[in-house]
């Protein structure tokens, strides 16, 4: 009995001691996706098929997160599962294939579109859907399909229907507050002024934008309604107000108020217009931003002698220093999950976008340009867009968090500054 027991133990220990190989590093390659031109039924405009697949392809490739298969290299153009052969795509090194069909268009101009997404390596269909949309809104339909595909592949929310707010400064006396779709299309100028405009920020419901304007000679915060265009000044106490940031619950604005030249962080309740002081220090406290749960605010302060990031609990008012590396860490923002922050890190006259996990001591610089500022993160936490400079002209650059893709947004007439990424549509 004893002997058999010993043998048993020996055997089991042998089973548990299987060789284990750890894989920590991933590939530098991107997933390759084939966007097959959609098929069409007889009564449908024949251009629509290719148009919609091209729109989806453009969306998916927008931030350099995927690689595509050129149409000229495709071995077949299936539009239904029966005609779909995995080997045709496996040979071309494709990871995912998107196929679809425009089934009908009715008298009201509504298109009925079906689409499928295949995982070539696993040989399974991972997404199937149908969507009805108006003929004149083919771009909108493509965005919805793109979001669903993106979500299925990455597990992150699709961001193709998000928007970007930014300031364009075309000459010394023209400042424009603009918004556009995230792909740069449909630009709208909300407000033009001869005096500087700064710090745009979206309300969580995407219906309003808060920003700072110097039109009356001093820094003043305005909230503009996007639908009506109406502007409302929230000049809190007749002093300079700046850096407004909406709390994620939409109830308050964090802002900076200067009493006799000393800026401190305040919280402004939108409903009852009450101002609550959060910091009171002779140093400069500025650039507030809310944590995703609306409970904490990150801000920049030079109380230690150099600009560093701090966090304050809005209830207990307890403060905590977040950065210690280097002598310039400013304009901090939380990641959408609240567990990491990103900010501008200065080092020997270079200013780069850096990230830091709150539970870790280390900071990591993301960008390699040298005058980067005002980073803003996509609502799904995967992409950061920031303002940078080429000579004296400002433009917007972007980077994916894994560092695999760097891109710059289309150049405008004038310097583009202070991008603010909109929240997702709820």
């Amino acid at each position: 009995m004893k002997r058999s027991l010993i043998i048993l133990i020996f055997l089991s220990s042998n089973i548990f001691s299987l060789l284990e190989i750890e894989i920590i590093k991933g590939s530098d390659n991107l997933s390759k996706v084939a966007f097959v031109p959609f098929g069409i039924e007889e009564n449908v405009n024949e251009n629509y098929g290719e148009q919609i697949s091209t729109l989806i392809e453009k969306n998916m490739l927008l931030f350099g997160e995927f690689e595509n298969l050129d149409k000229a290299e495709m071995l077949s153009f299936p539009d239904s599962e029966e005609d779909f052969y995995y080997r045709d795509w496996k040979i071309m090194g494709v990871d995912y294939s998107v196929i679809g069909k425009i089934n009908s268009v009715n008298a009201l101009g509504n298109l009925n579109i079906s689409y499928s997404l295949f995982n070539i390596n696993r040989r399974i269909k991972i997404l199937e859907g149908e969507i009805v949309g108006r003929e004149n809104n083919i771009e909108g339909i493509a965005k919805i399909i793109s979001n669903r595909i993106y979500e299925k592949i990455t597990g992150l929310k699709g961001i193709f229907d998000t928007k970007l707010a930014y300031i364009v400064n075309s000459d010394a006396e023209t400042y424009q507050m603009c918004i556009s779709d995230i792909d740069g299309k449909n630009e709208q100028i909300l407000f033009t002024s001869a005096a500087p405009i700064m710090s745009p920020d979206w309300s969580p419901d995407r219906k309003k934008i808060a920003y700072v304007s110097f039109e009356n000679g001093l820094a003043e915060i305005f909230i503009q309604d996007l639908a009506s265009g109406e502007r409302e000044s929230i000049q809190a106490l007749g002093m300079t107000n700046s850096a407004p940031v909406w709390s994620p619950d939409g109830k308050s604005l964090a802002l900076v108020v200067s009493f006799s030249g000393n800026p401190d962080i305040f919280s402004y309740s939108i409903n009852n217009k009450r101002l609550v002081r959060l910091t009171n220090h002779y140093g400069i406290d500025t650039e507030p931003s809310w944590s995703p749960d609306s409970k904490k605010i990150i801000f920049t302060s030079d109380r230690s002698g150099s600009p560093q990031l701090y966090e304050i609990n809005t209830q207990s008012k307890r403060k905590k220093r977040l950065t210690r590396d280097g002598n310039y860490n400013a304009r901090g923002r939380y990641f959408p999950d609240g567990k990491s922050i990103f900010f501008v890190h200065g080092n020997d006259g270079n200013f780069q976008i850096a990230t830091k996990k709150l539970s870790s001591r280390f900071i990591e610089t993301l960008t390699s340009t040298s005058l980067d500022e005002s980073p803003t993160i996509s609502p799904n936490g995967n992409i950061i867009i920031y303002a940078t400079k080429d000579g004296s002209k400002g433009y917007l650059g972007g980077i994916t968090l894994d560092g695999k893709s760097r891109f710059s947004l289309p150049v405008k007439n004038g310097s583009v500054r202070e991008p603010a990424w909109s929240p997702l549509f709820n």
Partner: protein, 206 residues
Amino acid sequence: MNKILTSLNTFALILLFLSFVFSVFSITTLKVDETQSIKVNFYELIEIAEQPKRLSGTKPKESIQEADLNKVEENSEVKKSLDFEKYKLNKPDIKRELSKIKLSKEREVILKISAIIQDKISSVWIKPNSLSKVLAAKVLINLAPSGEVINFEMVEPSNDKVFDESVLIAINKISFFEEVLGLDRKLFESNFRNFKLVFKSSGEIE
């Protein structure tokens, strides 16, 4: 009174002397043991093993010196038997040392092949952005001696669907681990017939 004191003194002196003698003896005996266990060198042991008859030295260190060996050969029977016991005790040591060398060579081969497998998987694994989550998924791989992946199974999934899926996609891309082809069969069976791949995401932004 004086008498008592002097006798106590002598008694104390005797005690001191005795303790000194004892300590000296205990030190020497300890020393011998230590040298035996420390200075017993593997290569010396092989030599000893080849010439068991000559072995009867008081210290193993001396046993490799021919002259000393001849000298001690004439020593008493009792000593011989004692040393023989020592020699007997050393035998498993040799085996252990030999197997250690063999093991370290095997270890080297296993590590080398593991590193190649690691690189191969890393080159095809498209790691998803898991935000700040710390994740790990274990996959059991079953290989044929030809290196062909006969079967694989996710034995310990992470609780993140997309992460697990990315792991399965990566393994699906590889149908052969040719690296195991030239391996000694026993080594293959005990290490690479079944092995686990542990995919990890540290939650750091990479």
